[in-house]
């Protein structure tokens, strides 16, 4: 009997350890292109992300087709001509959070942490080091960041005829509210 209760305790402990992960399925990523002729922006509200609080591992996954544009045709061209989302359906980031030990869900606060890792977009991997603002409020964590990203770094080719419409440098805004 004692053995069984011990087993049960151990099992629940094992599961409790697992729970030290922060997750979201409705993370937000926006990009903004500021070119001579027009501004283009698109939003994705179906980004999933996870933080393992035990070892500071971090990942996010953005389905390319979930980027929503003002114009239907822009969205089609984005997927078909630029991102080739049939071949490369996801943008992925995988890395670590430096100083993840600071994240304390038991008290409110905000701190800037450095996320390092590898971003994969359009099948091309790039090393990234990015400052991220982490906020804890009422026991819930959120992460926010804003940075520039070059299309050419990910072999997303913008034809010269489109250079006045689409900027090679995109401003990316990221906001994840973890459950």
């Amino acid at each position: 009997m004692r053995k069984i209760s011990l087993l049960a305790l151990m099992l629940s402990l094992g599961l409790a350890l697992n729970a030290q992960k922060l997750k979201t399925r409705s993370g937000y990523v926006k990009f903004f292109s500021d070119a001579a002729v027009e501004d283009i922006s698109a939003e994705n509200k179906q980004v999933s992300s996870i933080i393992n609080l035990e070892n500071g591992e971090f990942a996010f996954l953005a389905p390319i087709k979930a980027f929503e544009f003002e114009k239907a045709l822009m969205q089609e061209h984005f997927n078909e001509n630029y991102m080739e989302s049939g071949k490369f359906p996801k943008a992925i980031f995988k890395g670590k959070i430096k100083g993840y030990e600071q994240i304390d869900l038991s008290k409110d606060g905000s701190y800037t942490l450095v996320f390092t890792g590898v971003m994969t977009i359009h099948g091309v991997e790039q090393k990234i080091e990015q400052k991220v603002m982490m906020t804890v409020k009422d026991g819930k964590a959120s992460a926010e960041a804003e940075f520039m990203l070059k299309c050419s770094d990910y072999e997303v080719e913008i034809p010269s005829a489109k250079a006045d419409n689409i900027s090679n440098e995109l401003k990316i805004t990221v906001k994840f509210d973890y459950a």
């Binding site: 399925r25 393992n52 061209h77």
Partner: protein
């Protein structure tokens, strides 16, 4: 000893999951979603056939279609056929993602038309598996042509013709798409008593993308019960109409799609292109032509 096993056993679930990749955990959470095929074609037409594509919801589309004079018909004198252009204009709007309504005018036979195009099935994989996209298209044409010698009354009914297409399309991969288009063409007033009023065609079309913005297209519309036209050179005074065959290139430039092609079909509107094409590829009765579309997003 047993206790140690138990401890190890108890910690196993956490270890298993912790060692698992974070990414695969995210993907596992995502579950299976339906992935719909898109951009099977660059435009809403191949050349004369419709594609399964509709302009997006809230999009107004304007198209200009030209077919120039034949290569076999004093080509240089007619400035490469440009002096003899057949023109068609259309304007259509998609109130929703699955419905498109439009109006058109064609110079030949002074034809006015109204059309409706609607999505029935969308090619997809994942949670819902569907091998093809299916779109319906129906159009009614009114010829406003004046007749000097009225041998009988040209009332509304006698001026009408209709085309129905069922477009069954598949995007095989990023570059290659093809479609089969069972088509019914009905003309209330046939040219002769022997002619069929209702004709059936099985349209076939394919495209291959050579770059992100360029594609080669080919389209063939064999009629199963073709009619004949009056041909003074033929032994019995009649020659059968030919099937429309077109080879072209799509060029996409943001809001425009330019489609440049060579075709033996001179009539721009569907009933004329499919059932009234005297020209033959073998005899060099070819026409240069283009379709240009421009889209405007009306809603925000």
């Amino acid at each position: 000893m047993l206790k140690r096993y138990l401890v190890a056993l108890a910690l196993l679930p956490s270890l298993l999951i912790a060692q698992d990749d974070l990414l695969s955990e995210l993907e596992g959470d995502a579950g299976q979603e339906t992935d719909y095929a898109f951009a099977t074609w660059k435009g809403t037409k191949v050349v004369n056939l419709q594609t399964n594509e509709l302009p997006g919801a809230g999009v107004l589309q304007y198209t200009i279609l030209h077919r120039f004079g034949s290569f076999s018909e004093d080509f240089m004198y007619n400035f490469l056929g440009l002096n003899n252009a057949q023109v068609r204009l259309t304007l259509d709007y998609s109130p929703t993602e699955w419905l498109n309504l439009g109006l058109g005018h064609t110079g030949f036979q002074k034809t006015y038309d109204g059309f409706v195009k609607y999505r029935l099935l969308r090619q997809s994989k994942g949670a819902i598996n569907m091998p093809v996209s299916v779109t319906g298209f129906s159009s009614a044409y009114y010829s406003a042509l004046r007749y000097d010698e009225q041998d009988f009354e040209r009332n509304l009914g006698r001026r009408m013709s209709y085309v129905h297409e069922l477009i069954i399309a598949r995007k095989f991969n990023q570059n290659f798409s093809a479609q089969v288009v069972p088509t019914v063409i009905h003309t209330n007033l046939s040219q002769t008593f022997e002619d069929a009023n209702t004709q059936i065609a099985i349209g076939l079309a394919a495209r291959y993308k050579i770059t992100a913005m360029h594609a080669i297209t080919v389209e063939w519309v064999p009629i199963l019960n073709g009619n004949s036209y009056i041909d003074p050179e033929a032994a019995d005074g009649f020659s059968p109409y030919n099937n429309a065959l077109s080879i072209g290139m799509d060029i996409e430039t943001g809001g425009h799609v330019f489609q440049l092609f060579i075709t033996n079909a001179r009539g721009v509107a569907e009933p004329y292109a499919f059932t009234q094409t005297p020209g033959s590829w073998l005899e060099g009765d070819l026409h240069f032509g283009f379709n240009i579309s421009r889209v405007f997003t009306m809603t925000h």
